[in-house]
């Protein structure tokens, strides 16, 4: 019973929490205005909104690329408002990031691109070989480990990006429009992969413009407009 309680508490504990968060850039742009939100461990959340709605700022604040002007942000147990610059790498090691433009290093092959994320955190050679192979197998690219990025399609490149985000077994994956540069079929494949990863317990936060994906995959949807959360629904209802 006690174990069950612990398990439940851990699982309902918010992995991301915004309390009264506002962000205004030095240029005077009000990007976020008094945002309050909780994203629980194990959730799959779509973040939608038009250009300039505040989606990028929302993600940057979570990754601690930017600091909030007011309010409190907690991610994976880290208080980002009090966090020192030297501690930021520790926060980022608890998350995997998928970029819209893939950001693969063109001079490295697929294996090395994924291994790069493990080398950065000081993993040893044997672990790297084992975990990279597992991550590539998960995204269905085990056979392309020696290929160079320019030999892959857009969808395959994004799957390499996904393998890189997964390889350190993060609690949270942040995907910034991961389907923005791939065809519709591949978009479904990528979100399916993310959904599968989510089923195994990893929290997914995905920014997208693709309403079809949001509707079809039936996850929680946070909608931003002019720096405010205007909708927070479960079930793909925008």
């Amino acid at each position: 019973m006690e174990n069950f309680q612990q398990f439940t508490e851990q699982n309902v504990k918010p992995i991301i929490e915004f309390r009264g968060v506002s962000k205004t850039y030095q240029t005077g742009t009000h990007a976020l205005d008094d945002v309050n939100i909780k994203i629980n461990n194990g959730e799959f959340v779509f973040v939608v909104g038009s250009s300039g709605a505040g989606k990028s700022t929302f993600m940057k604040l979570i990754m601690r690329e930017e600091k909030a002007n007011t309010g409190k942000i907690t991610v994976n147990g880290f208080d980002l408002t009090k966090m020192k610059r030297k501690d930021v790498p520790m926060l980022r090691r608890t998350m995997g990031i998928v970029f819209q433009d893939f950001r693969l290093i063109p001079t490295m092959n697929v294996f090395d691109n994924v291994a790069f994320a493990m080398r950065v955190v000081g993993a040893d050679g044997r672990d790297i070989r084992k975990e990279v192979s597992k991550a590539l197998a998960k995204v269905g690219l085990g056979h392309k480990a020696r290929s160079m990025p320019n030999q892959l399609s857009g969808g395959e490149q994004q799957r390499v990006g996904l393998a890189r985000a997964l390889v350190n077994s993060p609690d949270l994956i942040i995907a910034d429009e991961p389907t923005g540069n791939v065809d519709p079929n591949m978009s479904y494949e990528i979100v399916s992969l993310l959904t599968e990863i989510n089923r195994k317990g990893t929290t997914i936060l995905m920014v997208t413009h693709d309403h079809n994906l949001v509707r079809d995959f039936q996850h929680r949807v946070i909608m931003l407009d002019s720096g405010k959360i205007v909708a927070d629904n479960v079930g793909g209802d925008i």
Binding site: S56, K60, M63, E65, E66, K86, P89, M90, L91, R92, R93, G96, I97, F99, R103, I105, T107, F116, A117, R119, V120, V121, G122, D124, G125, R164, N168
Partner: protein
């Protein structure tokens, strides 16, 4: 940081150097030029110091002693003065005859201080005790006369024929100083010693040597300082270009949780490699330059500093400057870039 990470980062530094080989080559070229000029400045300064050292050794001071000959000379002068005074007094006073006490020349033992060679050598020993005196060699009056005779030109030898019968030279001490910068102070100390009659020195030469030494020191310092700054700027610039070409990697590194040190180390390694390669090339180049230069001018200069004696120090200097320029240059540059985050890298 784990050993595997350090190995990986060092390898990355080597890989960067090779990947940017054109820029590396340009930097190495400029650094080699700077280091070779620095090395030449050091070698020139060492050679001038050697030449000055030789001059210093030649610039001996002759300390004449208050011996019998000195007293005789002094007495002659007194006599001249006395006779002049006497002739003035003769006009109104009765002529009185003065018989000087002492030997046939009228010199008493109390008229001089150095009575024999033993006392002269004791004075030399006393001079040698002074801090700045390297040595004080006793020169007898006979040896002094012999040396003086050598300096008389052949056509004037008849005028000095009297030197074959009498010796007007006092015994002396030939004093060599350690540091010409303390020349005046040492002269004052010698003058205070009992038994010292006079000091013959080339103070102008000493002053010239001091000025030359100071000038070379100041010029050497500024040449090296300016070239170190140039080296720093060159290495920083190379690292900046490397970083620019690797901004994607840096942004990914930061996104996946790399520490600042992890991002920084490959660039520092690259800077160090550039510095060390430049040091080795400069050492070899300088060896050949110096060999050619010394072969040409050695006849006019006499002795020169051997390259072998300076090779290790020069290499240490080059390596230190190269590594310093590499580490500091890259650290300055990467420090600026590390403040950028994720998407900001695309705008750099």
């Amino acid at each position: 940081m784990k050993l595997s990470s350090i190995k990986y980062l060092a390898f990355e530094g080597v890989r960067n150097t090779w990947a940017n080989r054109l820029m590396t080559l340009a930097s190495v070229g400029v650094l080699v030029a700077c280091m070779t000029i620095m090395g030449l400045a050091v070698l020139i300064s060492e050679n001038v110091n050697l030449a000055i050292g030789n001059l210093e050794e030649q610039n001996v001071v002759i300390v004449s002693m208050k011996d019998y000959n000195w007293a005789l000379y002094e007495n002659d002068e007194k006599d001249d003065t006395a006779s002049a005074t006497q002739s003035t007094a003769e006009s109104g006073a009765e002529n009185t005859t003065q018989t000087p006490a002492g030997d046939k020349n009228g010199i008493k033992e109390t008229d001089y201080i150095i009575h024999d060679e033993k006392e002269a050598k004791a004075l030399c020993a006393e001079i040698e005790k002074l801090d700045n005196v390297l040595n004080a060699v006793y020169v007898s009056s006979e040896k002094g006369l012999e040396d003086a005779k050598h300096l008389i030109p052949d056509d004037m030898k008849d005028d000095f024929a009297f030197l074959d019968e009498e010796n007007p030279m006092s015994c002396a001490a030939k004093v060599t100083m350690r540091d010409m910068a303390k020349f005046d102070e040492t002269i004052r100390q010698i003058e205070k010693l009992e038994g010292v009659a006079s000091i013959t020195s080339q103070s102008e030469m000493a002053n010239t040597i001091n000025a030359l030494k100071k000038g070379i020191g100041v010029a050497g310092f500024w040449i090296i300082a300016i070239l170190v700054i140039i080296s720093l700027v060159i290495v920083s610039n190379t690292i900046r270009i490397t970083m620019y070409s690797r901004k994607l990697e840096i942004s990914i590194m930061k996104a996946v949780g790399a520490t600042d040190a992890f991002v920084r180390i490959p660039f520092v390694v690259e800077g160090m490699i550039i510095g060390l390669i430049s040091a080795v090339i400069s050492e070899v180049l300088l060896y050949f330059c110096y060999r050619i230069a010394t072969e040409t001018i050695v006849k006019s200069l006499g002795t020169v500093v051997k390259y072998g004696d300076m090779a290790f120090i020069l290499f240490l200097m080059f390596a230190a400057i190269g590594v310093f320029a590499g580490v500091i240059g890259s650290a300055i540059m990467i420090g600026k870039y590390l403040k950028h985050e994720g998407s900001e890298f695309a705008a750099i």
